[in-house]
């Protein structure tokens, strides 16, 4: 490698356009992007904005069916043939689903050493040594043992580390990271981000970091390009773009971005003080077991909580913390293995019983994936109306009025009632699900990761909607989420769960500002945001 090579920018994209041949639509429209050595360039945008596609195009990985124009210069290579030759050695890529990105039937160590052998042309023995070094470099604990592990035996975070080790096998000058931490828990996410930064510092490689999460971008990137509908609408240093967004789309994106801050709740605060609140839900040392092959697995362990009338409680936790199971306990979907779950002083009946039918009128669920929770073969209107039919409420006309009223309440045009779920967007479907849940005029709404599968701007709107509806219908909310940043907007109190146990519970402001439990502190520290609201 000659010294002058270092001066070359590892990625220069000029006027790149990508068209989908089948429909003739332009997915990526005239983007230009340069990455300098050692620069971490964020590429942010919502789903379908063309950010992943641009990365694949830069590596020459788009298959048939796409037409490219413009110029791509990848580590000095320009022709498709040269670019293909740079893959692995000068340019590498990591993906969102690391576990699926590894060959499922070979040990991770073999996959790394095989790649090392091919890219560095060394003997198998040397390759093994280098592979172990690489695994150590990416902080895989006990690499000698993990060397012989299969991808399904490792966690998502560890597999992402293996992917990074694979990417480092060829000493690349540029790394494309496509949402590499999106599928991971917050604490793991912050570790991976740290790792990427330290690798950048060591090797001086450029990184293109694709994410939908402005918080993550803010945390790791030096510069950022904002993509919207195939175009780069704004570029600049992260500080510049975050502080003074010029383009309206960026401004909206930043406004929609969830912040780890407690919203000022004026009207609600007043009401909270003036009206005597009653306890609606009380969980007394409730546990929940799942049967597994060797005995039982305790998903929720002796959790005690209470939710008042019109209170909204956030349940925070990482995957496997038991937060969703807690939601099922509250709704009677799972029976408690120990302790009690009381709703208005009565034990919550078990799903399927006659009492549960009555209970269902007071407590409802908004699940994560709205497409899955709607019958694909029934119209939105019919499905919103259905709970009324089930419970024999009202005449046909009244039901229709209720339905149209609810559609308006959740911000959907009543004309959408004759549509089918697949004809609506994810956000619209989630609104319909909320409308259906509200149809029976419940007192309590359990939202289980209800915004997790939605784009940021849609997420912000759904949260605003929930806030409005809460006031309008005097609802109590149990808002189950992995994202601490959503809590402040909506909830007065927070419960933090870990490994089935409740580790902390208190008013939102107090928990977020003065966390008592060390795990809560870790969670807050892991939140990707450069300036902490707390600081």
């Amino acid at each position: 490698m000659t010294p002058s090579d270092k001066a070359i920018n590892p990625l220069i994209i000029e006027n790149l356009c990508i068209d989908l041949d089948r429909s003739g639509t332009r997915i990526v429209d005239d983007i230009s992007l340069t990455v300098r050595p050692g620069e971490i360039r964020g590429l942010v945008g919502e789903s379908g904005s063309g950010k992943s596609l641009s990365c694949l195009a830069a590596l020459g990985l788009l298959g048939d069916g796409w037409t490219l124009s413009g110029s791509i210069r990848l580590a000095g290579a320009q022709t498709p043939r040269d670019i293909a030759r740079r893959r692995g050695s000068d340019a590498a890529m990591i993906f969102q689903d690391a576990t699926a990105s590894l060959n499922p039937i070979r040990c991770v160590g073999h996959q790394v050493s095989e790649t090392v052998r091919r890219l560095r042309r060394v003997s198998p023995h040397e390759a093994r040594g280098i592979a172990l070094d690489l695994l150590r470099r990416v902080d895989i604990p006990d690499p000698e043992t993990r060397y012989n592990a299969y991808p399904f035996q490792l966690s998502g975070g560890q597999n992402q580390r293996v992917m990074i080790a694979l990417a480092l096998a060829g000493n690349p000058k540029i790394l494309f990271a496509d949402e590499p931490t999106t599928a991971l828990d917050v604490t793991i996410q912050s570790q991976i981000l740290e790792l990427l930064k330290s690798i950048r510092d060591d090797t001086g490689m450029g990184i293109v970091f694709v994410s939908h999460d402005l918080g993550v971008i803010e945390e790791i990137c030096d510069t950022v390009s904002v993509m919207c509908k195939g175009q780069i609408v704004e570029s600049g240093s992260v500080e510049e773009v975050m502080r003074q967004p010029k383009h309206a789309y960026t401004q909206n994106l930043i406004a929609a971005m969830p912040r780890l801050a407690v919203a000022k709740r004026t009207s609600k605060e007043v009401r909270d003080a003036s009206v005597e609140t009653q306890q609606l839900l009380e969980i007394k040392a409730a546990s929940c077991d799942y049967r597994v092959r060797e005995g039982t697995f305790r998903a929720v362990s002796e959790v005690s909580l209470a939710v008042d009338d019109t209170e909204s409680l956030a349940v925070i936790g990482e995957s496997g913390s038991g937060k969703s199971t807690l939601g099922k306990l509250i709704l009677g979907i799972e029976p408690p293995a120990g302790g009690e779950v009381l709703f208005q002083g009565q034990p919550v009946p078990c799903l399927g019983s006659a009492e549960h039918r009555t209970f269902a009128r007071s407590a409802q669920l908004v699940p994560q994936n709205p497409y899955l929770s709607l019958d694909p073969r029934a119209t939105i209107g019919d499905q919103i109306e259905e709970p009324l039919i089930i419970h024999g409420i009202g005449s046909d006309t009244e039901r229709r009025q209720t339905r149209d009223g609810l559609l308006t309440d959740v911000g959907l045009h009543p004309d959408l009632r004759s549509r089918y779920p697949h004809e609506l967007s994810g956000g619209q479907c989630q609104r319909a699900v909320i409308a259906r849940a509200l149809c029976l005029e419940p007192k309590l709404l359990v939202c289980d990761e209800a915004t997790a599968s939605l784009d940021v701007s849609v997420q912000a709107r759904i949260i605003a909607l929930l806030r409005d509806l809460q006031t309008k219908f005097s609802l109590s909310l149990v808002f189950i989420t992995h994202d601490l940043r959503l809590v402040g907007e909506l909830c007065q109190s927070v419960a933090v769960m870990r490994g089935g146990q409740l580790v902390e519970h208190g008013p939102t402001e107090q928990v977020l500002t003065y966390p008592r439990h060390i795990y809560t502190r870790d969670l807050i520290d892991a939140v990707p945001e450069r300036e902490r609201a707390v600081a």
């Binding site: 979907i333 799903l351 399927g352 269902a360 899955l372 929770s373 694909p376 119209t379 699900v433």
Partner: protein
């Protein structure tokens, strides 16, 4: 089972879907259209055989035996596909055999589909030991060639019972219906809209018959298109082997087996019914493949 769709709230989408299928059919590849044409003809023949056959399929004429296709006998009778070893008109015999083969296949397939799907539905609804027992039987069936089971039943009961034979042939593939129905029902119950409906207080009947059933009908139809040619093949094979349909009833398999003895001097007696079977199963496979690609609930409803 067929009229359960009538008062479905989802009548319009199904109607729309049907129109969509017809529209897609019009735009389908030539091969698929030919296959549809052939099947339409076969079904037409099956429905109208007794009115369109030129001769009585059983009337023998020893003076005009083994006539080649397109020949005229001494009485001036024209034989499109020739005559067999005792002078029966092959074309007429073919039409009547198609009628029998298709009746067995249609009734058998419907019987198997209904029985198999019901078993799968029951397994998914009741779970527990009922499900366990059903799944053991399904596994057992999947690991035993059906012909062997059918043959051992025939060995005991003897040949010649037409109704029993139809049911036996139709039973073929029941385990696949059961498995598909059970799997789809369970996944609907566990994850999706069914769980949501139960949470809203909907009863079993509403969840299973108003929501789940319409959603898995497409998968069952696809399975029927796979099973139908297999039923035709099983019936004709057993008839060919002499352990299926018995004379005087004649299926395409019987015709073919008669033809086997005259391969040296009258190839058409075997070739005509053979190609009739082949083209029918081929057409059904082509249509089935195409239907699977267009209707497949896996590719359409999932996001």
């Amino acid at each position: 089972m067929a009229d359960q769709t009538t008062d479905m709230p989802s009548e319009t989408p199904e109607l729309e879907e049907k129109i969509g299928v017809i529209r897609k059919m019009a735009r389908s590849p030539l091969l698929v259209r030919i296959a549809f044409g052939w099947l339409a003809m076969i079904f037409f023949v099956a429905l109208t055989a007794q009115w369109i056959m030129p001769y009585d399929p059983e009337s023998t004429n020893l003076l005009s035996r083994l006539r080649p296709p397109g020949s005229t006998d001494r009485n001036g009778g024209f034989h499109l596909f020739g005559t067999d070893h005792i002078g029966r008109d092959l074309f007429s015999r073919l039409l009547s055999a198609i009628q029998l083969t298709m009746s067995v296949a249609v009734f058998g397939t419907l019987f198997g589909a209904i029985v198999g799907s019901t078993i799968g539905f029951v397994a998914a609804r009741y779970r527990g030991w009922i499900d366990d027992v059903i799944m053991v039987l399904v596994d057992f069936q999947a690991s035993m060639p059906f012909v062997i089971i059918a043959l051992s039943v025939i060995a005991v009961t003897g040949t010649g019972n037409l109704l029993l034979f139809i049911l036996l042939v139709g039973f073929q593939g029941w385990e696949r219906y059961a498995r598909i129905t059970r799997g789809l029902t369970m996944s609907a119950v566990n994850h999706g809209y069914a769980a949501a409906l139960r949470m809203l207080g909907a009863g079993t009947f509403r969840v299973y018959f108003r929501h789940i059933l319409p959603n898995i009908v497409a998968a069952i139809i696809v399975q029927i298109t796979i099973n139908f040619p297999e039923t035709v093949l099983l019936e004709t094979a057993m008839s060919f082997l002499g352990v299926g349909i018995q004379p005087p009833n004649t299926s395409l398999g019987n015709l073919l087996s008669y033809g086997r003895d005259y391969l040296l001097n009258a190839w058409w007696i075997a070739a005509v019914p053979g190609f009739a079977i082949f083209f029918t199963t081929l057409a059904m496979s082509i249509v089935g493949d195409w239907l699977r690609d267009t209707l497949d609930p896996m590719t359409k409803d999932r996001r």
